[in-house]
Symmetry: C3
Subunit: 258 residues, 3 copies
């Protein structure tokens, strides 16, 4: 049974996601649809790109990932299929696949123009249901990415700034996202960290191996299960918002203490 995932900023109140699933099941009743998340911050393409980059690789080969964070829906922005070999990705050409393009080195991108991929009549405001859902279902039935339309090379993407050593003992990175426990996930990887801690905005932060090692109420850091540096306060208290960099996309500078 082939799996398709859905990631959107639609939330869980309305029936938009159910409508997409209904359209997909009408075309392929055997498709297994999994919700990636529908709580991407509305219109935050960067958040969507990072969330997709964190999660796509845990799915079986052949999985079709649909991602719809789409402030420009109805404008002339294109719908695309990204053929990444092991995985296919479907969504708007607005940068939502930026992390995919940087992680999967050989991709081919196709502009969705094939009439079979469009529900008739196509609504102006809901490409998720009327273009991306049918395209995903058709691909799950065997349509090849090159059948959806012509290849394009001028697709959109943005860079997630890689972390960098800005001085002998100083690292600059960025906040990828903040999770529901208030933990702050950065793009800084283990290789940049030396010693057992660092200073952040004058505050000493010690590096732990896991959450359980932390002291209640203290700011700590660890290398998380994705390999990224994560700031945490033990058990449910969010990382203090008094830190200036605590927004998705913000820059963080760490002073290594040894």
């Amino acid at each position: 049974m082939l799996t398709a995932t859905l990631m959107t900023d639609f939330g869980l109140v309305d029936t938009f996601i159910a409508q997409m699933k209904g359209v997909m099941l009408s075309i392929n009743p055997q498709i297994n649809i999994v919700d990636m998340t529908h709580s991407i911050e509305p219109f935050n393409i960067r958040h969507g790109a990072v969330a997709l980059g964190m999660s796509y690789k845990y799915f079986p080969a052949g999985t079709i990932h649909v991602a719809v964070v789409d402030p420009g829906v109805g404008s002339s922005r294109r719908g695309i299929v990204v053929d990444g070999g092991k995985y296919r990705f479907i969504g708007p050409d607005n940068g939502i696949f930026s992390v995919i393009f940087s992680e999967i080195k050989t991709t081919t991108v196709y502009h969705i123009t094939e009439p079979r991929c469009y529900r008739n009549p196509t609504g102006a405001t809901f490409h998720g249901r009327d273009v991306f859902a049918p395209t995903a279902a058709l691909i799950s039935l065997g349509m090849r990415p090159q059948e959806v339309g012509p290849p394009v090379s001028d697709y959109n993407f943005f860079d997630i700034t890689p972390p960098s050593k800005t001085a002998v003992s100083s690292i600059t990175g960025e906040v990828l996202y903040i999770d529901r426990f208030g933990n702050v996930i950065t793009n800084i990887t283990a290789e940049f960290i030396t010693g057992c801690g660092f200073k952040l905005e004058g505050r000493l932060v010690s590096l732990k191996e896991n959450y359980a090692q932390g002291q209640q109420g203290q700011l700590h850091a660890l290398i998380n299960s994705d390999g990224y540096l994560e700031l945490f306060v033990k058990q449910g208290t969010a990382v203090p918002s008094s830190l200036s960099g605590i927004r998705s996309g913000q820059t963080l500078t760490l002073e290594l203490s040894d």
Copy 2:
């Protein structure tokens, strides 16, 4: 694989919905259960009726739609199965299927009395799990609607006021619901709108073809992908709550400008 959808006002915190799914899978392990939404405003039957009317038709023929918004559970209100031909609907007889009755012209309604449709012992407070879930699962296995109990003709429904021209250049309609982006969806359809905009409470509202055409922070309107007039403010700002009609079920009067 047959699909059943679940729509409730139970929210996503408790395990009520999982209990319903467990009961259904115990009777038919092959049933494919899709969440329509579980965030209907608690006890708001009108909201449920509109949400179901917006979404049921995107599912494959044969889909069984279960809808539970049920302030009168445990009272003498009946449980019913609505046979709508292409689709079957299961839930309380309290008006939740009002939009279905107005959209599908030939329906037959059955009162659920068949003992096999009731879990034993039946709890007094949870018909979703103890009546509607087993009934849906049995129907997915081939039980015919007329086997659940006697047909009834005095079932409950309410009217969604249709839009009307209240003066030469004035249209009165109603707010169907407000989505998670703060967009206001009305029951006014394209045929009622002439020209490129209208006045609403003295405010000029211009008609756009899609969200992208809007100006940041301005109140606009468009005909949405369901064919309804929708008020929006570009990118994530809700339609101003200073407008007096911004509640589900409220009346809206538009002054057409040409």
Copy 3:
């Protein structure tokens, strides 16, 4: 098709749950994964234990229940499989299965040590994805519980205080949880209640058979569909927070009025 349920305190914003599902589907593409709930109060093992105890039994025989509420992840606490005969349970050894141990009299508990149950490399912070998900998928494919590791008898659990008659006409019980409608579910069962009501903190509470019998705005009680005494106020108003015991785990004392 075998069913596995997932219950966590991860919420629905992040992609953690999708990552777990991806891992499970990579091992067994045929597994049917149902969300129990992901809104357990963060780190509240007691809430998780009660929610699991309320819901596991509605699923088909053979269902594998995965429960992850895990403040000690990464510490030395063990991962366990509980073989309960009809159902198997997988999660941390921290008391999350306490209600299961009290309801299912013959269980055998195994410490997960088998290398095949661990993704490689295992992240330090996410056992849900890297240990419990693969273990559940392997068991769904036929691995027997005793193959995951050695049996253990010193597993962790806590008691939910049973209700007791603390005086001739006085019953002491405890709040199990508060549902999304603001209803308060207690551990007091029907056999403890005599007559048609009781006093709670000096307030008269009358016993009803269902929600519909209540008067708008009045505090009432009923025996709910799980057999427990539940406090409710009709239609959407929460039970008054002025009552002192309205937190999960708090003690409640009822004065029986006859």
